[in-house]
């Protein structure tokens, strides 16, 4: 086996890449596509159920005021800024920046969770009341699950950073965390419109 063949030497290529160049980014896109189709189907189910009845929401259901949910949405959108700055810090390989911005992100997120809890408690129906309650609560619940999962992931990453890890895996994770966070916030906009705004539009 004498080997004298041309070779494509890639030794000098980097081992980390971000955004569209990175397989991890595409993995996140896949995850986001799955979640997005789930939420799209929730919305479709919501309107399917709405279409089937004459009065929507059903009599006796109080739709919450728009104020708190809207403020909450504002804070959520705001929380994307520290997420973005954290991911930029990750690209620069700047552990202090990652820590700082992630912590701010987590703080803002926790505030929104508290406000949400307040909103939930103000609803006078539950998932067991009727089909309206069921669909609204499953949307709220699923999004909350995603949201909390995102926060927990950030907390774990911060813990890793505090423990002194700042290698390529952690940097990739911070980056990954940022775009999943954008998604979780972005998908809330249509959900907010469906749950809090659409009931204000009278059904014919």
């Amino acid at each position: 086996m004498t080997r004298s063949s041309p070779a494509l030497d890639v030794a000098h290529l980097p081992t980390v890449a971000f955004t569209g160049r990175s397989p991890l980014w595409w993995g996140a896109v896949g995850l986001i596509a799955i979640e997005a189709s789930m939420f799209a189907l929730f919305i479709a189910s919501y309107f399917f159920l709405r279409m089937r009845v004459d009065v929507w929401p059903p009599p006796g259901v109080n739709v919450p005021r728009l104020f708190l949910p809207t403020v909450n949405l504002g804070i959520m959108i705001l929380s994307c800024i520290p997420a973005y700055l954290a991911s930029e810090a990750a690209k620069r390989s700047d552990p202090a920046g990652m820590k700082l911005w992630l912590l701010i992100n987590i703080l803002l997120a926790l505030i929104t969770v508290a406000i949400r809890w307040q909103v939930w408690n103000s609803l006078n129906y539950t998932g067991y009341s009727n089909a309206y309650g069921s669909i609204v609560f499953i949307i709220l619940g699923f999004h909350m699950f995603d949201y909390v999962a995102g926060i927990l992931a950030s907390i774990v990453i911060v813990a890793a950073l505090l423990a002194g890890h700042a290698g390529e895996q952690v940097r990739k994770s911070v980056d990954f965390d940022s775009y999943t966070w954008y998604f979780v916030v972005a998908i809330w906009i249509p959900l907010y419109l469906v749950i809090f705004v659409s009931p204000l539009v009278p059904k014919r």
Binding site: P6, T15, P23, F48, Q169
Partner: protein
Amino acid sequence: MQSALLEPKRVQLPEASASEDLAELERAWSNPRGIIGWLSHVDHQSIGKRYIVTAFIFLLFGGVEALLIRLQLARPENKFLGPDLYNQIFTMHGTTMMFLFAVPVMEGMGIYLVPLMIGTRNVPFPRLNSFGYYLFVIGGIFLYAGFLLNIGPDAGWFSYVPLAGPAFSPGKRVDFWAQMITFTEFSGLIAAVELIVTVFKMRAPGMSLDRIPLFVWGMLVQSFMVVFAMPAVMIASTFLLMDRTLGTHFFNPAEGGDPLMWQHIFWFFGHPEVYIIFIPALGIVSSIVTAFTRKSIFGYTAMVLSLVATAFIGFGLWVHHMFATGLPPLGASFFTSASMMIAIPSGVQIFCWLATLRNGTVRITVPLLFVFGFVFIFVLGGLTGVMVASVPFDLQAHDTFFVVAHFHYVLIGGSVFPLLGAIHYWFPKMTGRMMSETLGKITFWVVFIGFNLTFFPMHLLGLKGMPRRVYTYQPNLGWGALNLVATVGAVIIAIGGAIFIANVIISYKSGEMANGNPWGASTLEWGTTSPPPHYNFLYLPTVNGREALWSRSDDDPVVTGVRTDRRESLSTSILDARPDHRYPLAGPSIWPFITALAVTFGFIGSVFKGSLIFYGAGLSLVALIGWFWPRPSHNEQPERVEKGATESNDQVVARS
């Protein structure tokens, strides 16, 4: 900057360096030993083979159930199985075949073959991949454990509410069904994302989009369909489970819910599901036809476009399962046209294969025989499919044995025949040994004859008015003779299955040894040894044509500079596959298995008590931290070799 990279340098690869690389690769890619080690495997070959073997075991179970169904229906008023057991068995049969066999086996083929075919070392997220496998196998075991404990689901594989709802399906039977869906869909989605990213980012340099093998295109398109279709069934099963265990009202018409919503969501998944099973099979057929005609498939672009078109149209057909629910006629005619339209891309593929066969030089081998069987059976099933797309005829055929015949022609013809061909075709690659051609030919003819004997009479039964899912029928209806013929056919298929299993076992033990490329085929997986080493290729290949191995010359470069002392591969750009960066791959880990157990605890627990899902989530979080917590060995330093954990080098070298 990067395009300069494509200019290869001529370097000497002295034997010494090659064997040094070889030794390092062997060490970096060896799998740990023992039970824990076995559960830690993350290489795509192990996971792919596990998927395939597990799925075939489920095929065996599903087949036995089919046989029991046929025995019960062999004669009128048969008392062999009572209605309760019969309903469980036909539900288990459908569920097993759809969720535990057809989709996983195709995904297993993809996970095994795609990285080899596109010339990389592993899928990009190896641990996630093994996590997906564990969820699948646990979901399957869960369902069958339930069945053996008399908790077998009994509302049909599409569990129409209200029959499957809390009031008409007491106990945990349908809950087990619904939660099994969650397990298998998780695993399906994971495999889909793996495959998409593998195909997008891990292709060998030079394998631009228009050089991707058709099988890989098939897996890519299938994975996209999975990503958009499977969330629907997860949602549907979650709704169902919540209605059943928590008392929500998604499907309760009394409180504003709607039973038809179940059908819409389920079939929004359920129809694409058929194409999820069938599109990889199209890829298999293309591979086999190429290999045995020694010719590129005629009309590569048309083939790819028709795959994509099938996927798109596949999402617009779901309502044709609901023609009898009393839809507005305008809507129905839209879905009729869409359902007929999907025959066009399928037709294009068939015509292109036939053109290839006609123009090429055909070697008739067992895999190709299965392709002929595929064309014969699938065309017939496709034509009956066009028939039932017509609303008026469907109103007669729907939910009768005509439809049973139709979808078995499409699914067995369109998917199982290519799959059996694929096993005969890729067996030498997977095991290093050839399968017996003689036994293979016998398998083909026995299965082919048995299949047609079983399912052709069902068309007539359906037209004579026999509804599906009846556990018995009365003698004066005149269905007895045809049913008996079908049962005889089923027994013949079972004999064919036994011959196939015997062939696999005999060939695995003592088949003729296979060289790297026994068929003289063109795709990259045939460019390495049989079976391939754990790292797939000593040097990652480059590609300069559609039929990679046929267009390859000694002057074509191989990739060097990817680290061999740890698991690493090359990531390339999406469109034209230029080298982009070196991509470190995760090594063996037990954490995916532990995480799967934690998730299992939550999923199974929540069937019995809703709040357990939160405990499961907590456990999963702990497991995930264990999984993802950064370890130095994973990053900059070379992989540590665990003591005594490597396979002995001699062994591996001897094998390769």
